[in-house]
Symmetry: C2
């Protein structure tokens, strides 16, 4: 075991070094992400159409394609101090285990009770809801990371929090549900009898265990039918990527302090909030022609929106109540294989990242889950941290790139995003340990069928 | 929400500021803790009698009552860097919620995958086992924090790790078991057919779900009957308190940097490893007459070894295979109520802490679990961290002391130990949320019956 190492194992910024502004990558994009469309008219949505659903400051952030730096309000910065800065970790032990000349860093966002980066946007969205004088917010959650993060943020700001949790998760992940209740949230299994859309779905499919699309529809209905409530979302949207830029800004400040410039930046991609946040300031440099980086999005082979999807307008939810977004998508009718572990199950991809990918400013690759869990276990055994399955997609590709460096002898610097912990994913780990985990890759025919669900508008 | 605060929310030491030596409080004690006795002869155990069970360097540390500072080997300091320094947190949000003039700090040891402070000693014990050229180590685990910590440490040092897990926990906490397997440990439900003592117990009690005492007996047998193995323990022993002094040393360095001196230091106490570690350097000052502090041990009312136990020689395990230790004890036959949530179920208390308490150098108090969970939830909602039930005993008393300050207007500084997270304790939180949690306080008659199990030797 080597013991002489110049750069610290973990770099923590001081409170003074923490970002005071978010970075809005859209301001530096020559081609802006396509606007959200009203599904009825096919016209771009205006602020006043979004205001009944989203908080007003968040609507402004959603539509702002021009302001590069947006102040983080003092109250949000204060709340960030309860769980940030997150450490930038030098993976000395992993480098040694791989025998690679590559230098590996990861930005670790799992160091808070929600267990993921989701808290960065939850704190911001709860603050703006409180500032607007709202009583509370509604949202949906699948695996539960976003619901937990939002519950924590609402508890800090004294807001009511109504979480619609996909019924199968509600039943299979009772611990996640109890964490949310500890923070005072009300958690309703979806579909439920508390909404019209829920009643309709239950009447049509009495035994259904729910879906994320259905939970979104219920949460939106609850927000628009309760006085003083708005709906909030944990990924995909421009505003969420803006808030998550704090990840990349902190990572870049920490690297700059030690004069380190990454060659390759890697992140897992589901809806895109983590990847979009991690790469933001680096992509900004790339867009302005100040620096170049290889940027790699990693998605599951079972839900390959960037690598096998179409760049087209699509519904953000399977219930088709949300606006249309132009994005790389598998079609809102796409349902990931049930054996798929953890998150990254979303059929589409953030419009910002979709545009950047379409312009060739970043790469994308997909990996199968047994390879992902092998990387997760290899990582845990030397770096200590038990990674979430989502995060482990990035670990897989970081290890693969480091092993390529071993072959070529190149001393490349790799930065990846470690978005969260796997404490609530031990069923999946157990399957992996017992050799019961299988891989699934959709066939071209299956994808063709789900592409047929794409709407005809706005193309 | 106040936003102008001088002392950082979280104080992280730099790598250079991290302790390079552990502090051995025994060196400053006028009356040393009583020696371990051979249960057969009633004579103090010598190093050569302990060597077949424990690693040789650890035996030396166990018996060393004289050396105040012991170097932390470079390799252990390197491993500590993967999860230390742990943050010292200023509980601004809790202070504000309580409306207290008290200043509250907590040393948070849950920021690692084991979820607790146990990793501090696990890393040290695994290192010494490796240094001795052993193949592996054996241990027992109840709730699983210690087993997880040891699995992580063994994985880093390339040691085999055999964990005997109390059968009821093995079955009820499959996630904990899978975390240990992720780190490569073999986990055996206890009692098992892999040891003679296990076979004997199973023959006598075919349906038993096990106990910690039984698991200790199996782990010790496995260590002494496998070539190249030793037994390791996560609490109670002098060596463990020595390793855990890193908690207090870091906390004191962080406070000293900002010129802060605590008035009251509070820790939960089960076997005593966390409390002993947290208070070590402060107690050292007190013993040397350099400073004074109020030090409070908090134990569950259902397992009150300090507040209602006897200071006497007793077996460390219910199976009576371990040495005798002089400690505050409820009798090794004492079984905590089955409704008791989380850890702190040990019948005795570290001999070091027992002696310090007996001399009046620290106080002890006990709390009932419904009050503990109320404090846990109040804390989580403002500080964000979801605390372990064990840690929440300290939170309860810290809040109570802060509320006393509110009444008197005193601006006391309170430091408490937040030993870990409650991710794997959500069954207990669920009971609390549903109003199904009850309290239990043993009667005097029940304690008299368990005191009758005390051995007659060494008194």
């Amino acid at each position: 075991m080597k013991t002489d190492r110049n750069i610290p194992y973990k770099i923590y910024l001081s409170e003074e070094e923490m970002p005071k502004q978010w970075y809005n990558v859209r301001a530096d994009m020559k081609t802006k992400p396509a606007p959200l469309l009203n599904p009825g008219t096919g016209e771009p949505l205006k602020a006043e159409e979004l205001a009944p659903i989203f908080c007003e400051d968040l609507v402004a952030q959603e539509l702002d394609n021009d302001t590069p730096y947006i102040d983080i309000p003092e109250e949000i910065r204060t709340c960030y101090k309860t769980f940030r800065p997150s450490p930038l970790v030098r993976a000395y032990f992993l480098e040694e285990a791989l025998g690679t000349p590559a230098k590996i860093y990861y930005k670790y966002e799992g160091n808070n009770t929600s267990g993921s980066h989701k808290l960065n946007s939850a704190m911001a969205q709860a603050y703006y809801a409180k500032k607007q004088g709202l009583k509370g917010v509604t949202t949906e959650t699948g695996a539960g990371q976003w619901g937990t993060a939002l519950s924590m943020a609402c508890s800090l700001f004294g807001l009511d929090c109504k979480v619609y949790m996909v019924k199968v998760s509600y039943e299979q992940k009772p611990f996640r549900r109890e964490v949310m209740r500890t923070y005072g949230a009300s958690v309703t299994p979806s579909p439920s009898m508390t909404t019209e859309i829920g009643k309709k779905i239950l009447a049509e499919h009495p035994g259904t265990t729910g879906s994320l699309g259905c939970a979104i529809s219920e949460a939106v209905e609850a927000a628009t039918t309760h006085e003083g409530y708005r709906y909030v979302l944990g990924s995909v949207l421009n505003q969420v990527l803006l808030h998550q830029s704090v990840i990349g800004l902190e990572a870049k400040t920490a690297l700059d302090k030690y004069g380190v410039k990454p060659d390759i930046i890697i992140g897992c991609a589901g809806g895109g909030s983590n990847l979009g946040g991690l790469i933001a300031p680096f992509m900004g440099q790339k867009l302005r022609g100040e620096a170049d980086y290889r940027i790699i999005a990693v998605e599951p082979a079972s839900c390959p929106s960037l690598t096998r999807g179409k760049y087209a307008y699509d519904f953000c939810d399977t219930g088709k109540v949300c606006p249309l977004a132009k994005m790389y998508t598998l079609g809102s009718g796409f349902i990931p294989a049930p054996n798929h572990a953890g998150g990254l199950r979303y059929h589409g991809m953030s419009p910002v990242l979709s545009e950047l990918y379409d312009e060739g400013l970043m790469e994308a690759t997909s990996v199968v889950q047994t390879d992902v869990f092998a990387a997760a276990e290899q990582f845990a055994r030397v770096e200590g941290i038990l990674p979430a399955p989502e995060s482990s997609h990035a670990i897989r590709v970081a290890i693969d790139e480091a092993l390529k460096c071993k072959e070529t002898g190149e001393e490349k610097t790799i930065l990846f995003g470690l978005t969260g912990t796997g404490y609530f994913d031990m069923f999946a780990y157990e399957k992996f340990h017992n050799g019961e985990m299988t891989d699934y890759i959709p066939t071209d025919e299956e994808l063709a069928a789900s592409f047929a669900t794409l709407p005809k508008v706005g193309c």
